[in-house]
């Protein structure tokens, strides 16, 4: 019996490929398997090849698997573009309708099942996806009953008859494939899972849920791939909490609205991807200069310009850290899993209020849209800290007539008390022009220096529970130190295990606080490694440059760059690392 397998369904966009994958994985999730999904899709609505690859395992997995075991094909293109991932023992089940052909050099076996014909016989060809799921059950020796609950929920609104019909389609697919498979029937049976109930979610869900847990009541955003799900989730949930979402006219409006809302005391956010973040740059500067909290989610996708809008990349890093003219304090977080995305989003709001500055939560397309198993999130770990926000007006001293409150008072830690509009003794001015302690514009050189130092001083002591995740860095001395950020974590972990199996001593560090850069945490690991391999999804080696700038040791840093739009596979990291060193 196997401990894991990789399953993929493919066809034309708009053909229900997504929902087929969804139903299959929901059932696997309920059985307690660990899942990790990958969506291949294009920037069009109907047509064009799309596929959904799902890894199912009895142990936690955080990367797309190198190989593919089962391919469900609804068209020839699906076979042609995916068969190279399959080895001998792999099975392609394809709809008889398109007269599938197995390429000469394909090592997998092609089983042709009349998906469409069976579905039509049962009432509608639309159910061909269910027939395919039933066929999968035959390969995996799964009792079809595991789908009952999922179908009941999925088709609840369409009525019991529809649920019944779909169930029949799954059963029919199972019977038909069982016969056709012969001895291959049950060849991909998985060992039993632990049965523990976990969440199955995309990173964007986790970010949105984190925002709600953090007390967000307002979001302003403009749709963009791969960020829109965050807004769509909050539109569903915020009304019940009294809050609101505004779909703005552009990202400049989104960012400035979020600033206005934070200024008036509400935790508000915006979310976008590269093109939107480029538009927000001036607003980010305003937030930094006026010391207004601001949380922005950047779900990175392929750049530059419109780039590869539906593909994986990590090329916004430098812009997120250095973008916006002038010097401002800013914090950039980079979660690597959906779970971290949840907690980091909450942290982002706490940090934004504590340091009264912009905080960017950096995600990437694979984290934002890839579905993964998440242990139930912990309510007790949700803490809300609002820094020096004055919550009780009574604390404020009475203002002298016509005097303003010192909203930008010079303090040792650089953080000043924050008051909200509506407070009688808190009246002050806010401006993006250099200003004095009460917010009044000032061009005095001395004041300029003091206010700039005050703002920049705030970030001298940013603490994040895990600025660098070193759980996988156990060797005192290592041959190789692998470094990455965001969703590459799983690929790096697996590559590490394989390199270790080859006898190398490998440490892995995953950076979670990108700015201010945790150089002190990375330094000892780099010092004790012979070679440092920095894996990232961009063409210029942005993280490698950042490490060189902040830590040094340029001579031992090797850049492992991938920018073809697909996420690193563990084997790629493994092989390229071997080549590099």
């Amino acid at each position: 019996m196997k401990q894991q397998l990789s399953w993929k369904v493919g066809g034309q966009q708009g053909e229900g490929i997504e929902s087929t994958g969804e139903i299959f994985s929901m059932a696997m999730n309920r059985l307690g398997y660990f899942l990790y999904g990958y969506r291949h899709f294009s920037s069009r609505i109907k047509g064009g090849h799309t596929n959904n690859k799902i890894r199912v395992s009895t142990k936690r997995v955080r990367a797309v698997e190198d190989r593919l075991d089962i391919l469900v094909a609804f068209d020839q293109e699906t076979i042609d573009v995916n068969y190279h991932e399959m080895g001998s023992g792999g099975i392609i089940i394809a709809d008889a309708k398109f007269k599938p052909v197995n390429p000469d050099d394909c090592q997998a076996e092609l089983i042709i099942v009349p998906f469409t014909e069976i579905a039509s016989g049962l009432g509608t060809s639309l159910m061909k996806n269910m027939v395919a799921i039933g066929s999968t059950c035959a390969i995996m020796d799964l009792p079809v009953a595991v789908f009952t609950g999922v179908l009941q929920e999925t088709f609840k609104r369409k009525g019991e008859v529809v649920v019944q019909k779909n169930m029949e389609a799954i059963e029919a697919g199972f019977r038909s494939a069982s016969e056709l498979l012969g001895e291959k029937r049950g060849s991909h049976k998985l060992a039993e899972a632990d049965g523990i109930q976990r969440m199955y979610m995309i990173g964007n869900d986790a970010i949105a849920l984190g925002a709600i847990a953090a007390g967000v009541r307002f979001m302003a955003a403009y749709p963009i791939t791969p960020a829109s799900e965050i807004m769509e989730y909050l539109i569903k949930k915020l009304p019940a909490l009294g809050g609101a979402v505004i779909q703005t006219e552009d990202e400049i409006a989104a960012a400035t609205m979020a600033i206005g809302s934070n200024y008036a005391g509400v935790r508000a956010l915006t979310a976008s991807a590269g093109p939107g973040l480029s538009l927000m740059m001036e607003s980010i500067g305003l937030s930094g200069m006026t010391e207004q909290p601001l949380v922005i989610i950047d779900t990175q996708r392929g750049g530059p310009s419109t780039g590869l809008p539906t593909k994986q990349e990590q090329s916004d890093l430098m812009q997120m850290i250095y973008g916006s003219h002038g010097d401002i304090p800013k914090i950039v977080l980079a979660p690597s899993t959906a779970e971290e995305a949840f907690y980091d989003t909450i942290d982002a709001f706490n940090l934004a209020e504590t340091y009264q500055c912009p905080v960017i939560v950096l995600s990437d397309l694979q984290l934002s849209l890839g579905k993964q198993s998440v242990d139930p999130l912990n309510y007790a770990k949700v803490q809300i800290g609002r820094g020096k926000l004055v919550s009780d007006e009574g604390e404020l001293d009475e203002l002298e007539p016509k005097q303003y409150f010192k909203r930008y008072e010079l303090t040792e830690d650089g953080v000043s008390k924050r008051v909200l509009p509506g407070m009688k003794n808190g009246i002050h001015h806010v401006t993006g022009v250099e200003h004095d302690e009460t917010g009044k514009p000032s061009e005095s050189s001395l004041n300029r220096q003091m206010q700039m130092d005050k703002r920049m001083r705030k970030l001298e002591h940013v603490e994040l529970h895990k600025a660098v995740d070193i759980d996988n860095a156990k060797h005192g001395e290592a041959d190789i130190l692998l470094i990455g950020f965001n969703s590459t974590r799983g690929a790096l972990e697996e590559a590490q295990q394989r390199l270790e199996a080859d006898g190398l001593k490998v440490n892995h560090a995953h950076i979670r606080l990108m700015h201010p850069f945790p150089a002190d945490k990375l330094l000892p690991l780099m010092e004790s490694a012979k070679k440092v391999v920095v894996a990232e999804h961009n063409a210029t080696g942005q993280l490698a440059s950042l490490i060189k700038m902040n830590v040094g040791m340029a001579a031992k840093i090797h850049s492992l760059k991938k920018y073809d739009g697909t996420p690193f596979l563990p084997s790629e990291v493994e092989l390229l690392t071997k080549e590099l060193i």
Partner: protein, 288 residues
């Protein structure tokens, strides 16, 4: 009792003597007192330009933001705390050039707030370039042979964008301007007030005298019905937009706040941020 003096601070405006913006400042202060506001419950959000400085010259909460973005920022403030009175303000470049997109969408959205544009038909702060409000033929540093683009007609544009309150004032008529701002503040929805606010330094054509000669006061027109959009449009076209007074008012249309699904009566800024544990667990379960 709060008077207009309570809305004065001790900052001396750096506007040129005679600049029309002084009157706008005074009118806002008077109108705020007249409608019974207190300084702490008023937020004035402004853009960048000579006019944008206004938020620093009124004793209230003030936010001098970025060029062209006063409106979205002000809308964010109002969404966060619906009990505040929010005024957005800025120049004609701010609202009709770089921020035009926001202006139209703020009009459509109809959030309860007041937008006051100080329209001097020129870029003052950057020392005299053409503005989308400059008339064709107008010579500036950036149009030495005269502007060749026609000017924007903000009042007509507002009407076609679904505005619920459209008015125009003139810096020389403080009484009318104050009254228009009062009406704008009392309007439940988005009120747009464009003010002819002469730039005495860079606009030598559209001067106080020029306006006095060319402006038509709607209050002098018998039977003018500001409830009728069609006649409002005709009036604007007839006088090339050179009218002052309340041009159009729709008092029936509910504001954005009244239409948002679930939006709390209590300001969001006063809400307890902690999520109920059962509700949190319910949200978690939805992903299982």
């Amino acid at each position: 009792m709060v008077t207009f003096k309570d809305f004065r601070n001790n900052v001396k405006p750096n506007w040129c003597p005679g600049c029309g913006d002084f009157s706008v400042q005074a009118a806002i202060q008077r109108a705020s007192a007249n409608v019974g506001l207190t300084p702490e419950n008023l937020a004035v959000v402004s853009g960048i330009g000579c006019s944008g400085r206004i938020s620093g010259y009124i004793n209230s909460y003030g936010f001098h933001s970025i060029h062209g973005r006063a409106l979205p920022l002000a809308q964010g403030v109002k969404m966060a705390n619906r009990d505040l009175t929010v005024i957005a303000s800025g120049g004609d470049g701010d609202g009709f050039a770089i921020g035009l997109g926001h202006t139209i969408h703020a009009i459509r959205r109809n959030i309860d707030m007041t937008y006051i544009v100080m329209d001097n038909q020129i870029y003052g702060l950057t020392k005299g370039q053409t503005s989308p409000r400059s008339s064709a033929g107008f010579k500036t540093k950036s149009t030495p042979k005269g502007a060749i683009e026609p000017s924007i007609n903000p009042m007509e544009m507002a009407l076609t964008s679904g505005a619920t309150f459209v008015a125009q004032g003139f810096s020389s008529d403080l009484k009318e301007l104050t009254s228009l701002i009062e009406q704008g503040l009392n309007h439940k929805g988005f009120s747009l007030i464009n003010v002819f606010s002469p730039c005495v330094t860079y606009n030598k054509v559209n001067t106080y005298d020029w306006f006095k000669e060319n402006l038509v006061k709607l209050s002098d027109i018998e039977d003018y019905d500001h409830g009728n959009k069609e006649s409002a449009m005709q009036m604007l076209m007839k006088h090339d937009g050179l009218v002052t007074g309340l041009i159009y008012h729709d008092s029936e249309q509910p504001s954005y706040q009244e239409l948002i699904d679930g939006y709390d009566e209590k300001p969001l800024s006063h809400q307890n941020l902690n999520l109920d544990e059962d509700y949190f667990n319910h949200l978690v379960k939805e992903f299982m």
